[in-house]
């Protein structure tokens, strides 16, 4: 049963502050859900996530798969009748899900992590290296094997990293970020 006592109003305040959006403006019209191209893959539709935020259901919101799968395509933000930046709210939920250490959509999280690791190391993303690392860590080796011939034939991937000269400058950005603590 969902009792009002389960509501964490600090969660509401935190989401509002970090996203700069007033969730009370959402009147649950479902426009975001209606136009969301990723909805078919979600466990919880976007408008229901907004509802969870409004009613302070922190765990329900942060444990959803949806926050990880959102493609940030901006459909919801562009069409919301109340001018709410829903996309930004989804990003904030993703940040908070990461920080809370809750497990969800491992592969998506892993992809983001390997991407950023590559950027940190080389200054630019070294696509081949990143994909190899992802494949190894996700166990998803065979996934796009059928594409390999085309990728190779067309030389779509470079097999040597090309770090920038001042790659340390980029490494330092990450370092300072970790030291400052997020936010």
């Amino acid at each position: 049963m969902n009792t009002i006592n389960d509501s964490d109003m600090d969660f509401v305040r935190e989401v509002e502050e970090r996203s700069g959006q007033k969730v009370a403006r959402c009147y649950q019209c479902g426009n975001c859900t209606a136009g969301c191209p990723y909805n078919f893959a979600y466990d919880i539709p976007v408008n229901k996530l907004m509802r969870y935020i409004q009613s302070g259901k922190r765990d329900k919101a942060l444990e959803s798969k949806a926050v990880w799968l959102c493609g940030s395509c901006q459909s919801c933000t562009t069409r919301c009748p109340n001018n709410i930046d829903v996309c930004r709210v989804m990003d904030v939920l993703r940040h908070m899900a990461r920080e809370s250490g809750k497990k969800s959509e491992r592969k998506v999280r892993l992809f983001a992590d390997t991407f950023l690791e590559s950027v940190e190391k080389h200054g630019r993303v070294y696509e081949a290296g990143m994909m190899a690392k992802f494949a190894a860590q996700s166990g998803n080796v065979l996934g796009d094997l059928d594409l390999a011939p085309m990728v190779l034939a067309k030389h779509k991937l470079k097999f040597r990293p090309h770090p920038i000269r001042k790659r340390k400058a980029v490494e330092d950005i990450f370092k300072r970020f970790r030291e400052n603590g997020h936010k």
Partner: protein, 291 residues
């Protein structure tokens, strides 16, 4: 011929999976007299992964490049990739915000002040250069090739941030392709997401979303799809065989970068437009163009 100079941010795919976009962009800008001054030692903007981890980190990764562009003395930095563009613009907004500026600059070696205006290459051509000017330079019109223009989900959205064209029915690429002599068909899913970076972690999402786009293009009767985004092009082109297996389309449909077709119409040397990099063969279309 009009002369324009802008700072240029290629983006990571330009040196990787979308080399043909990079090369054809340079070829087209050269033909038009738009000088692209590449930012020295630019770094990755962070793309989607960065903003899903933290907004300040993402802004800083882009901010480094804005700072570099700023020191080049131009007031615009052009990029062919919409993902880079939205990150650069978001970062610029944060840096202009007195409440957030110091948070972003705290992560940077060289702080950024007065960020330059990031724009897409398409925007520079259409807005700053002008479609009429381009039309004057067309040497080899595209002979009525039937195309649909696919902009991708973030090039014009959200409108308050991207400030370019229309968020539901943009016409910039349509106008350019029409000036280039193509027959541009109305396309209802111009800004519908292709699946973006879900390709590797969640292939099923790209299958469905890009499948829907390809199906719509086929329904419209297009010979080809014209794109302005490296990720969209990759999903629609590289993965087309996988999508076709799912039954979304009955025959292959090539996916060009708009710069490749525009370059052809401007009479640029075909070799610099790198048609060889396209996975779905553009042969039939190229034959139709040359008549």
């Amino acid at each position: 011929m009009k002369k324009t100079t802008v700072a240029y941010y290629p983006g990571c795919s330009a040196v990787g999976t979308s080399v043909e976009y990079e090369k054809s962009t340079r070829a087209v800008c050269d033909a038009l007299g738009i000088q692209l001054e590449e930012i020295q030692d630019w770094s990755c903007c962070g793309s989607s992964p960065a903003h899903t981890v933290n907004h300040i980190l993402s802004a800083a990764l882009s901010g480094r490049n804005l700072a570099l562009a700023g020191s080049m003395g131009h007031d615009t930095v052009a990029t062919p990739c919409p993902s880079c563009l939205i990150n650069l613009r978001t970062s610029a907004r944060k840096i202009e915000d007195p409440k957030l500026c110091h948070k972003v600059n705290a992560l940077l070696e060289d702080p950024c002040e007065n960020p330059v205006e990031p724009k897409s290459v398409l925007q520079v051509i259409v807005e700053d250069y002008g479609v009429d000017e381009v039309a004057r330079l067309i040497r080899k019109p595209l002979n009525g090739l039937k195309v649909v223009c696919y902009y991708g989900c973030i090039m014009t959205r959200p409108p308050e941030l991207m400030r370019f064209d229309d968020p539901e029915n943009p016409m910039a690429m349509d106008d350019l392709m029409e000036a280039a002599g193509a027959e541009v068909l109305p396309f209802p899913l111009k800004v519908e997401c292709c699946g973006a970076s879900s390709g590797i972690p969640r292939k099923d999402i790209v299958m469905r979303l890009s499948g829907k786009l390809l199906h719509a293009a086929e329904e419209c009767g297009a010979d080809a799809i014209v794109s302005a985004c490296p990720l969209c092009q990759m999903n629609l082109d590289l993965r087309q065989s996988q999508i076709r297996k799912e039954g979304y389309i009955s025959k292959p449909i090539p996916v060009f970068y708009f710069t490749q077709l525009l370059g052809t119409a401007l009479g640029v040397d075909k070799r610099s437009l790198r048609f060889d990099k396209l996975v779905v063969s553009p042969k039939r279309c190229l034959e139709k163009i040359s008549g």
